[in-house]
């Protein structure tokens, strides 16, 4: 095995001559694989070279060059940098083999790329639209797709800038004049298909159920309006009695095409926009995006900024996990009491965010090469008090009240089990992965910023059930407090931003994938620059979105009530899931 692990990246091109070549474009890395060899190469990567974790799949539409690219980021769960594969395919007939058979975690990401970019993944078991609705015309992330009220390709729009005489193009251009219907489409005759494809795929499962007693199944739609789907998420559940036989998540109710808007925005305009992804942990979102763009720009923030970033990211993790634990308990039917106890601490953390960033939830605190503001007076003491005094005590208290509660254990232990193999295969990340016994934490496995300086343990538990996910979150809060204590102790003086603050940054052409260990899992930003003020491609690898891939596997065979607990234990946020 060790020899195989040593196989360096250059080997891949030599191993598959004519099929794989290095990506020689300036600012790019990885390999370009011929479409017909992709499965073979991926199999080699997974089985021989140890790249068992398919982190991200997305596509890029290179309109000027006339092709599309499907981009894959592979990692080893033992740690180390990424291996990037790309498959190029013509725009008018974009077909790429599906990797779902090798990496089940590719399922939703491939559906997303099909939905938004129109790359057809051959061999995908259930290639339906995922974020847009069935019947939507076109694929919105293609560069030649234009929205109603389209103005320009990139902001700032001339209509709103400069001199402040704003007019909105929608005022000048009534709605129906701006809508293109496909040639054979008559809106008056159109009827919604009422999820026919979805129910068909459930009916297929229904027919395969075998049972000795003749039982009847019932399909229940949990959501989109449902108190415990954490937003407008919908699960279509096939029930036999109260036991789940199949489950299909349906999402996109909160879809706003974050990525398309992001590609219209300038680089710095996207910073506050990332806040809206996982709105419970905006600092981590900032962090990931800043890392990706800094990679492209080739700059590093000064010491003090690095420390501040780590401090904010860890506070975010604590507040997010408190929220996650609180709402998990709510999902178990505790009437808001644990939730409100957990939120009390979160409020204090948000106080700090408000003091440094000016906003409690939409922080917009990071800048390329640093952070926006230094600590105001008195905040450092507040943070010290929280990290050294209050939080450790309150976490112990939470632990004391919740961890050994009989009902909680009865509801959580052995429920929604995900084995380590499954967790890796489904590209699960964050607490979901670590509760399944895979000690994979990006802060350790592929350190970014200054995480290599701190002493902390990667929280890991081995049963892979809801209870362990809860425990992992509790452990992670404790580890975050440890990191905070070290960071606060060592926080140096100095500048907080490399260079001058600027509204417009110059980003050289190239691609970069910046990823951080966000509270919910691996948060990755894949940014492609073509040298203009706006990103050519801006893709978010959202942990909630990828983690939800494993939901059906976890839910099968459990009771309806458990589905809610399992969903709660994944800890999703719809702002990030639907984007």
């Amino acid at each position: 095995m060790s020899e195989q692990m040593i196989l360096t990246q250059t080997d891949l091109a030599e191993r598959f001559p004519g099929k794989v070549r290095r990506d020689e474009r300036k600012g790019y890395e990885g390999y370009i694989v011929e479409a017909d060899a992709l499965l073979q190469v991926a199999q080699t990567l997974r089985d021989e070279m140890g790249y068992d974790y398919l982190s991200s799949i997305t596509g890029v539409d290179y309109l000027p060059d006339g092709y599309m690219e499907s981009v894959y980021h592979f990692y080893r769960t033992t740690g180390g940098p990424a291996l990037v594969l790309k498959v190029q395919t013509p725009r008018d007939h974009a077909v790429v083999p599906s990797l779902v058979s090798l990496y089940p975690g590719a399922e939703f990401q491939e559906r997303e790329a099909w939905d938004l970019l129109g790359i057809r993944y051959e061999g995908h078991p259930d290639l339906r639209r995922i974020l847009m609705w069935e019947g939507f015309a076109g694929h919105p992330l293609r560069k030649d797709w234009r929205e109603p009220y389209y103005e320009e390709d990139a902001k700032p729009f001339k209509s709103r800038w400069p001199d402040g005489h704003v007019y909105r193009i929608e005022d000048k251009n009534p709605f129906h004049k701006n809508v293109d219907y496909p040639p054979d489409f008559d809106p008056d005759q159109w009827v919604a298909d009422n999820d026919a494809a979805l129910y068909a795929s459930l009916a297929k499962i229904q027919s395969t159920l075998d049972s000795s007693l003749k039982t009847d199944t019932v399909i229940v739609n949990m959501g989109p309006q449902h108190p415990s789907t954490h937003g407008v998420f919908r699960m279509v559940v096939l029930l036999e009695g109260e036991t789940v036989r199949a489950l299909k998540p349906v999402m996109g109710y909160l879809h706003r095409n974050h990525e398309k808007i992001g590609e219209r925005n300038t680089y710095i305009m996207n910073m506050p926009f990332t806040d809206r992804l996982d709105y419970l942990s905006s600092m981590s979102n900032n962090f990931g995006y800043a890392l990706a763009v800094e990679k492209l720009m080739g700059i590093k923030p000064p010491e003090r900024a690095e420390y501040l970033r780590v401090i904010m990211a860890e506070f975010t993790r604590i507040s997010n996990h408190l929220f996650a634990i609180g709402s998990l308990l709510n999902d178990l039917g505790a009437y808001f009491t644990p939730m409100l106890y957990a939120i009390e601490e979160r409020e204090l953390i948000l106080d700090i965010f408000e003091a440094v960033a000016g906003s409690r939830m939409m922080c917009n605190y990071f800048r390329f090469g640093g952070v926006a503001r230094d600590l105001p007076e008195g905040v450092y003491e507040k943070m010290r008090d929280l990290a050294f005094e209050r939080l450790p005590r309150r976490i112990d208290e939470l632990d004391l009240y919740l961890t050994n509660n009989e009902i909680i254990r009865a509801r959580c232990e052995g429920v929604g089990v995900l084995t380590p193999e499954q967790a890796i295969a489904f590209s699960a990340s964050g607490p979901l992965l670590r509760a399944s016994g895979v000690p994979y934490d990006i802060r350790r496995a592929d350190p970014y910023s200054i995480y290599d300086r701190f002493e902390f343990d990667v929280a890991v538990r081995y049963h892979g059930d809801v209870y362990d996910r809860y425990l992992v979150r509790l452990d992670e809060i404790r580890q975050s407090i440890r990191i905070l204590q070290q960071a606060l102790r060592d926080l140096p003086q100095g500048p907080i931003l490399a260079g001058k603050p600027q509204y417009q940054v110059r980003v050289p052409p190239g691609e970069a994938y910046g990823r951080v260990e966000a509270p919910k899992g691996e948060l990755g930003f894949y940014v492609v620059s073509n040298g203009k003020p706006n990103p050519w491609r801006y893709h978010v690898r959202a942990p909630s979105f990828v983690n939800i891939t494993a939901l059906e596997t976890m839910a099968k065979g459990n009771k309806v009530a458990d589905v809610v607990a399992i969903l709660g234990s994944i800890d999703i946020v719809l702002g990030e899931l639907d984007r």
């Binding site: 108190p227 415990s228 109260e242 808001f336 409100l340």
Partner: protein, 368 residues
């Protein structure tokens, strides 16, 4: 049957119903205030001083809300169901004595609507039909959540009624009467909870299940079934379900007080009969506080675990408790010495511990 006693009955019935309705209204406020305190909040304090007008505001809001009837619902039963739910809740209190007989206008008026000689059985009968409203509401809404809630509640009721019925036998055996007035009278010197600690415990748990209170609020489990059987109800019809739930809370607390905690008995009741209702009220409020406390504290048990708990633990405990109580009463009879009654708590607690030991892990423990 003279006119005076007819008038007395009528007046007492009206008084009881109004007391229950008022109790319902202020119980909601009581619960909201209490839960708020448990959760480090303040709770309703806008309508009136200390939020005292909040129930009125809620009532007005609910009356003026639009009432929707789903198109595919079974309209007759859909409208009937809330009524069927409320009526048993209101009439179940008829046999519970609130205080000792008092002298008024030269008549002896017993503070009880009617002293049935089968009062305990009456409570059982009403409790057993009270589930219909919920079941029918669930079925007639033509909504899957509602149907699941209805099915759950029927199964739950049947399961916990057994333990409940067996828990009733304790006080009945000790008094050798099914009349609630006599049961209270028998507790003149000692509350039955001392003879029947396990029985009272079983009674308490199974009533929580009977009135669908947390942690047994399966039929309306918000997290799974949105609102369970009353998902489709709005306006006053919804309020009726709400009312039934809270009146049932009051009723079962009153019954628990009557059976196990001496009813209206307390110091100086014989001298000042009007103290009786006050003691009774205080005890009932104590039980209501317990119910709210449990709701603020515990998560919900999963449905299959709930059934397993009801059948495997509670039912066997209740059977054993009934048998050991009978044994104790028999021994006391045989030796003509009421000290033998003290064998009941000893043996039943031992039995309780044995069952708890045997069942450890099988209900609450995880399945990994």
């Amino acid at each position: 049957m003279d006119w005076a006693s007819l008038a007395e009955w009528t007046l007492k019935s009206f008084a009881l119903i109004f007391a229950l309705l008022g109790g319902f209204a202020y119980l909601t406020l009581f619960e909201r205030k209490l839960i708020a305190r448990f959760q480090v909040r303040i709770g309703p304090n806008r309508a009136g001083p200390f939020g005292l007008l909040q129930p009125v505001a809620d009532g007005i809001k609910l009356i003026f809300k639009e009432e929707l009837i789903p198109a595919q619902a079974d309209k007759i039963i859909f409208i009937l169901a809330p009524i069927i739910t409320v009526v048993p809740a209101l009439v179940i209190m008829a046999v519970v004595p609130f205080g000792p007989p008092i002298q008024l206008f030269g008549r002896t008026i017993s503070l009880q609507i009617i002293d049935l000689n089968v009062g305990v059985l009456y409570i059982m009968a009403i409790a057993s039909v009270s589930v219909y409203g919920i079941v029918l509401a669930g079925w007639s809404s033509n909504n899957k959540y509602a149907t699941l809630g209805g099915i759950r509640s029927s199964a739950q009721m049947i399961s916990y009624e057994l333990a409940l019925g067996l828990a009733f036998t304790g006080p009945v055996l000790l008094t050798s009467s099914l009349s609630l007035a006599e049961i209270v009278e028998a507790q003149r010197h000692i509350w039955f909870v001392l003879y029947q600690p396990v029985g009272a415990f079983i009674f308490w748990i199974s009533t929580l299940a009977e009135v669908n209170r947390a942690p047994f609020d399966m039929p309306e489990a918000e997290q799974e079934l949105t609102a369970g059987y009353h998902t489709e109800y709005s306006g006053m019809k919804f309020a009726l379900f709400f009312m039934a739930e809270y009146i049932k809370m009051i009723a079962v607390s009153a019954i628990a007080v009557t059976l196990f905690f001496g009813g209206y008995r307390g110091p100086f009741v014989d001298q000042v009969p009007l103290l009786g209702p006050i003691y009774f009220l205080l005890k009932v409020v104590g039980f209501l506080f317990l119910m709210v406390w449990v709701r603020a504290t515990l998560p919900r048990i999963r449905y299959d675990r709930l059934m397993a708990f009801g059948w495997k633990v509670l039912f066997s405990l209740a059977l054993g408790n009934a048998m050991l109580t009978a044994l104790g009463v028999l021994l006391a009879d045989m030796f003509q010495n009421s000290l033998w009654l003290w064998s009941i708590p000893v043996t039943t607690i031992a039995f309780f511990l044995l069952v708890a030991y045997l069942m450890r892990g099988s209900i609450a423990g995880g399945n990994r």
